[in-house]
Structures are given as structure tokens and as C-alpha cells.
Amino acid sequence: MKILVPIKRVPDPQTNIAVKPDGSGIVTDNVKFVINPFCEIALEEALRVKEQQGGAEVVLVSIGPKVTQEQLRTGLAMGADRAMLVVAEEELDPATAATVLKKIVEAESPDLVLAGKQSIDDDANQVGQILASSLDWPQATFASKVEFSADKKEVTVTREVDGGLEQVAFALPGIVTTDLRLNEPRYASLPGIMKARKKELKEVPLADYGVAGAAKVKTHKMAPPPKRSAGRKVETVQELVGLLHTEAKLI
């Protein structure tokens, strides 16, 4: 089985992000970048499938600036077999990213694409779905459990949906996007880092994919969320109920 795992380079969710004064983006100086946590979960799942099934190949792919090599190296150190970077200095919108990925899927013909459900930078939650629809492949998003049939030709996915869990099954090839509770990603081990040195990390210019000017979404301005204003203390329950009725208009 061949599993393709697209990953994205994003700011470390544990760091504080500041918006540039002109609103053109975020301040990236001294910001640590990591593999998007949902992508990391997808990679972990792919590695577990590889370990359980034996003989599976895990291929990493990313679209991003040249420094995205760092995240791909980390992924290789975690255990992926090879990696490919589409070098794009500009940020791509979800539809364009999906178009590039579609071409990569067509060239690689994996049995499964395991992706994060969304990246924690713009939280679009679209690439997996657009990719599935443009390939006309079955998809299961928000996966919290992924199981394969004995002949490895079908996958059953437990999805986290509003109000409960849903199970869907489809024949491969297909696309699964991962939710937070699917697994806990491993650390890249020291021997893994050493082995990663010898693994292939191919770079391809974005121009090879002919998507120039295809962007449908443009970011005009970024702004930090408004500061939460201080709360108010009231003396009695009656007063609270009254305010919820007259001011907040909640009851």
C-alpha cells in the first residue's frame, strides 16, 4: 500500500502570534515553525498502518517555501520513506493547493491520501474535500479511527460529527482527513534523524504545475481578534436574570 501524506508548515501553536502593523500577515521573526498538528496526526496514522501492514510506503508532500525542508526532514525522521517539496514562496489558497496535490496524486497513484482535516494557520478545512471531489475519490473527513479490511481494499473510518460518531466505509483509493483524537504522534527519534539523512527529499518548482494566477481567494488584511473585555459582577441572582433579559437579551 502506498500512502500519500500532505503536510503544511505552520507557526508553532504554542507560540504567541502577532499581526504585522500593516495587516499584511503575521510577524514571523523568532517564530518557530512546525508540522501542522493535524498533518502530524495523519503522518502518525500512516506510519502505524505501515508498521501493521508491512511493505507500505509513506510519501510526504508539502507545498511551501524552501525552508519547509525542515518539516519534511522531521517527517522523514519520524519514519516516512521519502518526501517531495513543491517550492512556492507565495501562500496558495486551498483550491490551488488541491489542484497541485491532484497532479501529484495522479503521478504517484497512492492507495490512500491521509491528510490533516485543516491547518491551524488559516483553518480553512477545504483541501481534503476539494482534492477528493476533483479526483472523484471517496472521502472521510474528521477521522477518529481508521481500520482496513483484511484484503486491504476497503477502509472503515469513524468520524467525529455533531452529536456523535459516524462510521463510513469505502473502497480504496480514497481520502481520509484526520481529527485530533485519532492518535498521539511519536517523536522523531535520534536514530530516525540519522536515517532521514539518506532519504530522498525531492524539490519541484511550483511553475511545473501550471497553476499561476489560479488563486480564487486573496487575503486582503489580517487583524488580531478583539481583546476580551472585562466581566461584570452583580449582587444578586435576580439582578443577573434581569440583565440577561434586558441587556444580553438571552432569556
Binding site: 525542515e70 526532514r73 522531521t74 525522521a77 517523536y187 522523531a188 527519534s189 535520534l190 536514530p191 530516525g192 534523524i193 540519522m194 536515517k195 532521514a196 539523512r197
Partner: protein, 363 residues
């Protein structure tokens, strides 16, 4: 001529060890301090990270990674940042495995190293002696020839994980200077006492070890007839301790800095007050100085030079820096620093040991 840029591999190593320290070590460090134990599951996770066996040769089950004192210092700093007791526990097997790797005969490597590549294998080195004039290179513990055997006599203390170790590396004075001996658990004359009750490092089990007429065969001497370069081992140990001390200091500084930026007094964050701001600046200077001295010493060792001078300076400076910075961190937090709700009192207790012990880790 001058370049302090980490290699790509070193960056990845630092990142993965830092994540491990942040997500696995820090969250349990208070519990470990209170309970006096490091959970075996964590030791196993540390092992899986490759802290011990990545540098051991492939023919004994390791991965044959080229070892580097600089990378060792980087790893030590990140683990020290997480928690010193836990770091020393996780790294303790190196105290036997690395000297074996550097100086062991082919037979010694084949016999002892495979165990270190399978799972977390408790082991420790017996170096420090309970006497006021202790000196690493002039030991009171004696090793005397008796026919083809060696007979060891003396007292040791601060021996990590001695209670659980299958083998200890005991340093003893021979006519040709200090040498190291592999002493198996249960060897007649070897007594491992109850755990020591220390001021800090409470999660790390350390023991006094008594050797009375402990007789070991000739091939128990590390390096066989050639012996081992104990001075270099001591230098590698100084780098490990200096790296750990830098990490402890950095952890305490970062905590104090964040606290000072958040804590309001007289209408401003206390970090705005010069008395605090100057203290924080001094702390950073100490940490960066300690790190640079450590890296320089490690770099010289990696080149194969005799770096005794640099190693001594680095260890001494970083030990003092850790004590000063953790003490200042307690001060920045004021009354809050003295209570156990915050970790700085724990870090101060741990850092106090750096100037009292030796040889508790190796790179």
C-alpha cells in the same frame, strides 16, 4: 574561522529532545520530585527516543551514530530544561555504555553493550567519594593486582541507579593512575546502601557503595591491559554537567521572565521595574556565557584536543550560573518563589548540587 550554526541534524535533535522535555518531562517533574521516582514508562520513552543506543555500534544493536560532544551538550541542555533529576535518570546508562564504547575491548563491548540497545537499562558510574578532599583524578578507592585479578577497596557515593544496575563502572586508583572497572551486581564485597536522602534531585535514586576486597578478573578493567583514558571521560562528563546546568538555568530564567511580565505591582508589570529587569538581564548573560563556554569546550573535545582547561571552566561556570539564576528566579517570584506551587524552588534545590557532585552524566 567562526561558525556557531547548528547542523541540520543538530537542529532536529534539539527540536525533538525539546519537545520531549516540554511534553513528557516537565508535566511530571513535580510529581517525581514529591514521590522520589521516575516512572519506568518515561524511562522507556526516553530510551525509544534513542538517548542511549543511537550512538552504539550496529553490531551490538545500536545505530552507529557518530557521537559528538557538541550535540551531547545540546541534548543535555534541553533535558536539563525539562527536569534535572529525570534527565540524570534517563542519561545514567550512558555512564557505563559510553566509556565502554570509547575504551572497551572488543570482548567487553560484545558482552556488555547489547543490553543497552534493547530497553532502558539502569546503570551508573561510581566516581565520587565521601571525603572532603575528593579529587576525580586522585582517588582513595584503590585497585590492586592480585595474580591476574584486581582487588578493589574503598567507598563511593552519589552513584546513580546503583540499586537497580546490573553493572557499575567503578573508578579506582591504580599504580598507573585512575582506571575504571566493570563490577557486576552481587560481586562479593560489594555493598549498595539504601538511597541517599538529598536536598534536591529527589527523583534520582543515588546510593553509597562500599567495596571491601571486591575481586574482579583482569578483563573487568575497562580497556583490558591498555586501560582507559579516564581524564577524557571526566572531561566528557564535565560537558554533560555543564549542558544540564545551562538547561536548568534557562528553564528558571524563562519562568521568571514570563512571571515578571505578567505579575502586576504598582500598576505595571514587575518586569518594568529596574530591580527586576536588571536581574533578568544578568540571568540571560549568565546562561549565554555558560552555553558558549560549554560549546567551545565540547568543540575542542570533538576535534580530539586535550580540552581539560575549557571543560573545567565550562563546568565551573555553568554550575555557578545555574545556582545564581535559579536563586534569582526564586527572588523574582518573591514569596511565590518559595512555595511549592511554582517550580522555581525545586530548580534551586536541584541546581545547588552542581557544585557538590561530579560525574553524574556523560556526553
Amino acid at each position: 574561522m567562526f561558525d556557531l550554526e547548528m547542523t541540520e541534524d543538530q537542529k532536529l535533535v534539539r527540536e525533538t529532545v525539546a519537545s520531549f522535555a516540554r511534553d513528557e518531562v516537565r508535566p511530571i517533574s513535580r510529581d517525581c520530585d514529591e514521590s522520589g521516582h521516575v516512572p519506568p514508562a518515561l524511562a522507556e520513552k526516553g530510551f525509544e527516543l534513542g538517548l542511549i543506543h543511537s550512538a552504539l555500534p550496529e553490531d551490538v544493536g545500536g545505530f552507529g551514530e557518530q557521537r559528538s560532544a557538541v550535540t551531547g551538550a545540546i541534548v543535555a541542555e534541553e533535558l536539563g530544561w525539562g527536569d534535572l533529576s529525570i534527565a540524570l535518570h534517563l542519561l545514567a546508562p550512558r555512564l557505563v555504555a559510553y566509556p565502554l564504547l570509547d575504551a572497551g575491548t572488543p570482548e567487553q563491548k560484545k558482552r556488555w553493550l547489547p543490553a543497552f540497545t534493547k530497553r532502558f537499562q539502569p546503570a551508573g558510574a561510581a566516581i565520587v567519594e565521601p571525603r572532603y578532599d575528593f579529587d576525580t583524578l586522585t582517588l582513595a578507592t584503590r585497585a590492586k593486582r592480585s595474580g591476574s585479578n584486581w582487588v578493589l577497596d574503598g567507598s563511593k557515593c552519589f552513584v546513580p541507579l546503583a540499586g537497580d544496575a546490573d553493572v557499575l563502572l567503578v573508578f579506582a586508583q591504580t599504580d598507573a593512575g585512575p582506571q575504571a572497572f566493570l563490577v557486576e551486581r552481587g560481586t562479593p564485597g560489594l555493598t549498595i546502601s539504601e538511597r541517599e536522602k538529598n536536598m534536591g534531585l529527589k527523583a534520582l535514586a543515588t546510593h553509597e557503595v562500599e567495596l571491601k576486597g571486591v575481586t574482579v578478573p583482569a578483563d573487568a578493567r575497562l580497556g583490558g591491559e591498555d586501560g582507559a583514558d579516564v581524564a577524557r571521560m571526566v572531561n566528557l562528563s564535565r560537558i554533560a554537567v555543564a549542558g544540564l546546568a545551562t538547561g536548568v538555568a534557562r528553564g528558571a530564567y524563562e519562568y521568571a521572565r514570563d512571571y515578571a511580565k505578567d505579575r502586576q505591582a504598582f500598576g505595571v508589570a514587575i518586569a518594568q521595574k529596574q530591580a527586576i529587569a536588571f536581574m533578568l538581564a544578568e540571568m540571560v548573560i549568565e546562561i549565554d556565557s555558560a552555553r558558549l563556554l560549554t560549546w567551545e569546550a565540547a568543540w575542542k573535545l570533538d576535534k580530539g584536543d586535550d580540552a581539560t582547561r575549557e571543560c573545567v571552566l565550562a563546568k565551573r561556570y555553568a554550575s555557578n550560573a545555574a545556582l545564581k539564576v535559579t536563586d534569582n528566579a526564586v527572588q523574582v517570584l518573591g514569596g511565590h518563589g518559595y512555595v511549592r506551587d511554582h517550580p522555581v524552588e525545586l530548580w534551586l534545590r536541584n541546581a545547588r548540587g552542581f557544585t557538590n557532585f561530579d560525574g553524574l552524566a556523560i556526553v
